[in-house]
């Protein structure tokens, strides 16, 4: 079963009396355990698409099915529960909670969203810390970490509740080139290790080349898609 199915997906914002179309009838399918990029210039609708796939926003028209659920049917609370169970998020600015350590940031969704018991939480967090190579930095707070380290913690946080899909909006925009590649590599490793689908947006051509499936957007339309089973970078 496809993970995400978009059929005639449309999103229009209203600014006063003016309607501003952000997505204009997009059709695409995302399969499980894939590594997908939405690419395009600023304002092309990448973030809007990711927001809808992430159940943060509803389509104006068309249908978007995520993990078999029509997201238009979800109210605020149901959408929160759906995200908590199925979707992880990685943000451009990392968005870690500043007062919490790396360990606690990763643990946060298990406390606030899923309410796992303490012992199970500890095991899961340690597994993810190890997976992203941050075991030795577990006690550091975000202000004591580099950008790359923060994004590693963010990746671990996105995966900690066994999300089936991770959405990353410009995850490398605030990172230098090498660190950006390391983060993309890490995301791929996590996909391989946990079978999680990664969907990210970028306008960096070097980063978009890392994706196995790429959807190019312009002015709210999906102009093209390309598929390459495995890409290795230098």
């Amino acid at each position: 079963m496809s993970l995400v199915i978009a059929e005639g997906l449309t999103k229009t914002y209203r600014a006063g009396d003016v309607e501003v179309p952000a997505i204009k009838g997009a059709d695409f399918v995302i399969e499980p355990a894939s590594f997908v990029a939405f690419v395009g210039p600023s304002g092309s609708g990448k973030s809007t698409l990711l927001n809808m796939i992430g159940c943060l926003d509803h389509p104006t028209a068309g249908k978007l099915t995520v993990l078999g659920t029509d997201i238009s049917t979800l109210d605020r609370r149901a959408a929160a529960d759906f995200r908590g169970k199925n979707i992880g998020f990685i943000f451009q600015d990392f968005n870690l909670v500043p007062v919490l350590t790396a360990y606690e940031n990763i643990e946060y969704p298990l406390i606030m969203v899923q309410e796992w018991p303490a012992e199970k939480r500890r095991e899961q967090v340690m597994r993810l810390l190890k997976a992203v190579g941050m075991e030795s930095q577990a006690d550091k707070r975000p202000d004591q970490m580099s950008g790359g380290q923060k994004q590693r913690v963010a990746v671990a946080r996105a995966l900690v509740s066994n999300a089936k899909m991770v959405l990353a909006d410009e995850p490398t925009a605030n990172l230098d080139h090498d660190t950006a590649h390391h983060v993309i590599d890490l995301m791929k490793q996590m996909r391989d290790q946990f079978g999680t689908t990664f969907i990210f947006s970028t306008h960096d051509p070097k980063i978009m080349a890392e994706a196995e499936t790429t959807y190019t957007l312009e002015d709210g339309r999906v102009l093209s898609s390309s598929h390459q089973p495995e890409v290795a970078h230098a």
Binding site: N51, L56, R77, D81, G84, I87, V97, P98, V113
Partner: protein, 432 residues
């Protein structure tokens, strides 16, 4: 919930200065309220103690209508022996009653053989009066302070009268009184002692033995104007008053033969089932009760000020916390945190502010109360000087104020917490 509290505590600690300032305001408010309650409570209990233990007792029983005419000390509204017996039986059955003192009160003329003035006389059983108003024997400005309050043939007069009439302890004076039938009688007394001027009712009262009073008034039977009652615990006042009102009010009304009961009890008890006895607390009889009520009112006002301080300071800090953490709220909402969970997180921050502020405020307040008790400041009340202020505070008062502060802190957090829980994740994540 513990995890939410832990995260809330971390969030408070990240804005250390703001949190400290808010806590300081709560602590200052708590200290102000608890100190005010303890100091005014001490003053109030001392003031009430002076009134009840020197003059009035905790409550008094009169024949119906007596208090309404108390300025004229009407002899025709005295209680008859049957009524007195009924009252005494009721008092004996209530374990909260420590003792009581029957009094015969009347207005008379005081003469030093050259001048004459008016005087209000209390005819008392010395031992019972001293037990009911235990501060009275110690308030003798002149004359013996120990021993019997007054013996037969002796009189105790107030200081103002002694000065005005230029008499002293050991002098002889004549008291002239008109009895209920209109006949005038006089009797010579030796001045045993002179009382300090007491503020409030009783301030111009003299004392003589109850047998002398009855003889002077040519009473044919042992009538009583009032019965003053002392309780073991003044906190039982309301309960005992209600109990006495019920018992004495229904004395003859529930009798199988009301006519016979009224006849045996005399006109002081009841007729036709109507209560003929009245029970009054000290507060009903003393103008200083309004001062005590004013203290209570001021305490309420101070509590309102405290509520305002806590409400404004906690709401301010929480509004700022939400505003400064909009992106963070957007993040936790995006990763699937339910709105109710976000609400509880911010409420937990308000709760912690309230609890920590209350705990510290209580500690500082108790330390301040302890320090005042070590310091022992003196003050005067009416004619009484050199009274020592010894503030105390009941656990119930501390708990009430603490719950009030914590409750208001949570209430103040409610609006910002609600706002945080309703933030749209997309807009919140875009917030700069």
């Amino acid at each position: 919930m513990l995890d939410v509290l832990k995260i809330a505590a971390r969030n408070l600690s990240r804005y250390r200065r703001r949190t400290m300032l808010t806590l300081l305001l709560i602590i200052i408010g708590m200290v102000a309220v608890l100190l005010f309650i303890s100091v005014t409570g001490s003053f109030k209990s001392m003031m009430v103690g002076q009134i009840t233990d020197s003059v009035l007792g905790h409550l008094e029983v009169h024949r119906k209508g007596y208090v309404a005419s108390i300025d004229t000390l009407p002899l025709n509204l005295n209680m008859k022996p049957g009524a007195v017996t009924k009252v005494e039986e009721a008092l004996k059955q209530d374990p909260a009653v420590e003792t009581w003192s029957p009094r015969v009160k009347f207005g008379g003329m005081f003469s030093n053989f050259t001048e004459t003035t008016t005087i209000r006389i209390n005819g008392v059983d010395p031992a019972r009066e001293a037990a009911t108003a235990p501060l009275l024997p110690g308030r003798m400005a002149e004359g013996p302070k120990g021993g019997a309050l007054v013996e037969k043939g002796q009189i105790v007069i107030p200081l103002l009268l002694a000065r005005g009439m230029k008499v002293k302890v050991g002098d002889t004076a004549v008291i002239v009184a008109t009895n209920r039938d209109g006949s005038v009688n006089g009797k010579t007394f030796v001045i045993r002692s002179v009382t300090e001027a007491i503020s409030g009712p009783g301030g111009r009262d003299g004392y003589m033995h109850i047998d002398d009073a009855r003889e002077l008034l040519r009473m044919k039977e042992a009538e009583v104007s009032e019965i003053a009652i002392r309780l073991k615990d003044p906190a039982q006042l309301d309960r005992v008053t209600a109990s006495l009102k019920e018992t004495l009010g229904s004395t003859s009304g529930k009798s199988p033969d009301p006519a016979a009961a009224a006849a045996s009890a005399g006109p002081g008890v009841a007729s036709a089932g109507q209560p003929q006895l009245e029970v009054h607390t000290w507060a009903d009889l003393s103008p200083f009760a309004s001062l005590a009520r004013m203290i209570d009112l001021m305490t309420v006002f101070i509590k309102v000020v405290l509520v305002s301080i806590v409400l404004v300071s906690v709401m301010n800090v929480m509004v700022m916390a939400v505003y400064e953490r909009i992106r963070e709220i957007g993040t936790i909402a995006a990763i699937g945190t339910r709105p109710s969970r976000i609400l509880s997180l911010f409420l937990a921050e308000g709760l912690l502010l309230g609890v920590i502020g209350t705990a510290l405020g209580t500690l500082v307040s108790l330390a301040a109360i302890y320090a005042i008790n070590l310091w022992k400041p003196h003050f005067a009340f009416g004619q009484q000087s050199d009274l020592v202020m010894a503030p105390t505070i009941a656990v119930a008062q501390v708990v009430t104020v603490a719950l009030l502060v914590v409750g208001v802190a949570i209430l103040a957090s409610l609006q910002p917490a609600w706002k945080a829980s309703r933030l749209d994740p997309i807009n919140a994540l875009r917030h700069v």
